[in-house]
């Protein structure tokens, strides 16, 4: 397995004819993390979507090695299905098994919700489920958009713990957030 890598080189973002940011450059290797900060509408989510390859940069180049997992405001879980099954669909596409899903649910402290339909989950539980999808994916690069939104202190601890373990295993974490999420030794990318 080639080491994970995510590098932006003089990247600019143009949305709806408006320049959100330009000349953004950073390079993350195995075990590194980045914290994307900035006011609402500064382009934090757009930066993550660019890193994921869902948006093309207006200028500059993006180099990514390793699988990508994205957690944003969309849970992407089928509402009527039990949580475990909804996550297992994604795990199947990632070449992972049911045991990885259960391990991820356990890590986020929602293993008991395995058989509960996704539409019955609260905001915080849904956010935990979204993060469990990232955990279960086995992807090297985690892109987390507002990972702490709607989560209680216990869940935030679990998130910080999961991110630390992921980095210790050679993964990369990029988080866009307003609140502290327990990401130490992180490169700060400030968008004006």
């Amino acid at each position: 397995m080639t080491p994970a890598r995510l590098a932006f080189d003089r990247v600019a973002c143009l949305r709806g004819g408006r320049l959100l940011f330009e000349e953004i450059g950073f390079s993350l290797g195995a075990g590194d993390a980045a914290l994307v900060t900035g006011p609402n509408g500064a382009g934090k989510s757009s930066l993550l979507r660019m890193a994921a390859g869902l948006l093309d940069p207006a200028a500059g180049t993006i180099d990514r090695q390793g699988g990508i997992a994205l957690s944003d405001e969309n849970a992407a879980l089928d509402a009527h299905r039990p949580l475990g099954d909804a996550l297992a669909f994604w795990a199947g596409l990632d070449g992972r098994g049911r045991s990885d899903v259960m391990a991820a649910l356990d890590r986020m402290g929602i293993a008991h919700l395995d058989r509960v339909p996704v539409r019955m989950l609260s905001t915080g539980q849904r956010k935990r489920a979204t993060l469990a999808r990232v955990l279960a994916s086995g992807a090297a690069v985690w892109l987390l958009d507002e990972p702490g939104n709607g989560m209680d202190a216990g869940a935030l601890d679990r998130l910080a713990d999961a991110m630390a373990t992921h980095r210790a295993n050679g993964g990369i974490v990029v988080a866009a957030t307003h609140q502290p999420v327990g990401l130490d030794r992180a490169t700060v990318i400030e968008l004006a």
């Binding site: 979507r49 994921a52 390859g53 869902l54 948006l55 990508i68 997992a69 994205l70 944003d72 405001e73 969309n74 849970a75 992407a76 879980l77 089928d78 509402a79 009527h80 669909f89 994604w90 199947g92 596409l93 990632d94």
Partner: protein, 215 residues
Amino acid sequence: MTAFLSLVRRDLALSLKASGAVLPVVFFLLVATLFPFAVGPDAPLLARTGGGVLWMAALLAALLPVDRLIEPDRASGVLDQLSLRGISDEVIAMAKIAAHWLGFGPPLMLAAVPASALLRMDGAALGRLELGLAIGTPGLAALAVTTSALTAGLRGAGALAGLLMLPLSVPVLIFGAGALSESGVGALKLLAAASLLLVAGAPFATGAAIRAARE
């Protein structure tokens, strides 16, 4: 390929859960039941026009779930997550077309049997109708998915999708109904051509529409 199959399985399960294979079938049979009331119980007239009516019903049945084919997956981020996993938008489109067809095509072909009896069509006419439906409904499914992707996220998407889809489905309708006559072999070939064109072109048009909606 495994990704394609698991996508088809998921979409089919979702559509069966949402309305079942029942809704298009009920709609189809309802049309077949109501039509004799409208034109009267004149058996030769019913037999002559029945096939065309069933083709209209098949077309509208394909259109029934058009607002649910793409938009929920776009809004909930499923399309983004699939793209992240290296599954191209064209493959997503093909899976959606296959799942949509499986959800209404075969059930409709089954429902055509009682429907043809209601419309006083004889066995030979039913055979030609079934053959035409087998060839033409994949084209209708492809067209429905494409218009669904083109209108995803727009206000009044359902009505707009209808306006977009109905004119484009005219060739399928003409040749499908034309293939019902005893000398309809030529029309059947043209129906196959029209359906093939739609099925071949739809994944690319749908993929482009999904990409455009992501911007």
